[in-house]
């Protein structure tokens, strides 16, 4: 019974990831993001021209932000099992996720606000759009700490047969480091570290995709081995 719930929660991550991708890409057509250097008038025209797609895409983004939590709860359950009764890293993970993933909800909210009134002045639409993109990319900062915490917790597992495979721990550390360039997006409007750049957007986006799929893969493997059974 318990393992069914765990499986459902884990799969919920895949559902959330897919919804987010559909929302941001074919619906809102914000993938890749609008160039930060785009003049306010062109940004505003983009929102006016794609209003319905952006509004519907934003609904999916906001919905998925909540669906991530069952998945993250499944991760936390594994971390708790690894750490036992004294579990500071699990608590840290839970708290970081609680505010790190909320930004996804707010990103959807600001996309909605930007597209909601097409007759708003260009500057207002462009500013709301800026906030939406920052909320979408900046969570790299909490995600970095979240990955490091997860990595350390998995590597701290002293069992002969670890709850989660040790390579997953190192993979989390790697993901964390590669998300870091997202932290600098506020400094640039062009180049590789701008929010649509190779290193601040594409690398983290691909790495996040790899991380997500490998987490689901490894967690399903551990559920199959029934590692959570027994106290």
């Amino acid at each position: 019974m318990k393992s069914t719930t765990m499986k459902l929660c884990t799969y919920m991550g895949a559902v959330a990831g897919t919804l987010m991708f559909i929302g941001i890409w074919p619906l809102a057509q914000m993938f890749p993001p609008l160039a930060p250097a785009l003049p306010a008038a062109e940004v505003a025209d983009y929102y006016r021209a794609h209003q319905t797609g952006i509004l519907v895409g934003a609904i999916l983004i906001m919905a998925c932000s909540v669906l991530f939590f069952p998945f993250l709860a499944a991760v936390a359950t594994f971390l708790k099992k690894i750490e036992g009764p004294v579990s500071p890293l699990t608590w840290a993970f839970v708290m970081i996720c609680a505010y790190g993933f909320v930004t996804v909800f707010f990103a959807g909210l600001f996309f909605t606000a930007a597209a909601y009134r097409p007759d708003n002045p260009d500057a207002i639409i462009a500013t709301l759009s800026d906030i939406a993109f920052f909320l979408f990319v900046m969570p790299a900062v909490p995600a970095f700490v979240q990955n490091v915490v997860t990595g350390i917790a998995i590597l701290g597992d002293k069992r002969a047969q670890p709850i989660l495979p040790r390579w997953l721990g190192y993979m989390n550390l790697w993901t964390g480091v590669l998300l870091l360039p997202g932290l600098a997006v506020g400094l640039f409007k062009v180049g590789p570290f701008a929010w649509n750049g190779v290193l601040a957007f594409w690398v983290p986006a691909v790495v996040f995709g790899i991380w997500f799929n490998l987490m689901i893969f490894a967690m399903l493997g551990s559920i199959k081995r029934n590692v959570l059974a027994g106290e």
Partner: protein, 198 residues
Amino acid sequence: MTVQPLSELHGRARSTRGHVPGEEGVWVFIGGDLVAFAVFFITYAVARRQELALFESAQTLLDRRLGLLNTLLLLTSSLFVAQAVAAVRRHDRRARPLLLGAIALGSSFVIVKAFEYSAKIAQGFTLNSNSFSIYYYMFTGIHLIHVLIGLAVLCFAASRFDRNGQMPGGVALIEGCGAFWHLVDLLWIILFALLYLL
């Protein structure tokens, strides 16, 4: 005549047979990091081709002597780490001093870098001065984060010695830490060549 402890013989056999140093998982991280930096370097190469004149003139502003000094500091510290790994394998008490030496050299790298950054900023060469400066500060900055993580890793390894300067069963641990430090060194050598020399 001294009898070699069994674990030492085991360690020798391990080291001569060409095993994977550290635990295998470390190489997931190192391989992944190398892939990421490969993407960094390709991005840089493409950007440099697009604005060749600007990059070449901006690159001459960098202080090659400080870059070379930092290269030597990291190379020497890597040598110290390699010696420390070998010392742990043969249960030599010199392992910890060697490791502390590597940490001192790594810390000097950070200090030199701080001087280099502040001198550049004083000259008006800042983050958004031109497209080269973005790469210079961001790449060396991300590398610097690696150095700091590497120093933390080495300090962690140095804290694992017992009172007799031994690290019982710590061969995999120090090999893993050493492998990461060599990665930091390797990345810097490529960065130094790309940013300062090319």
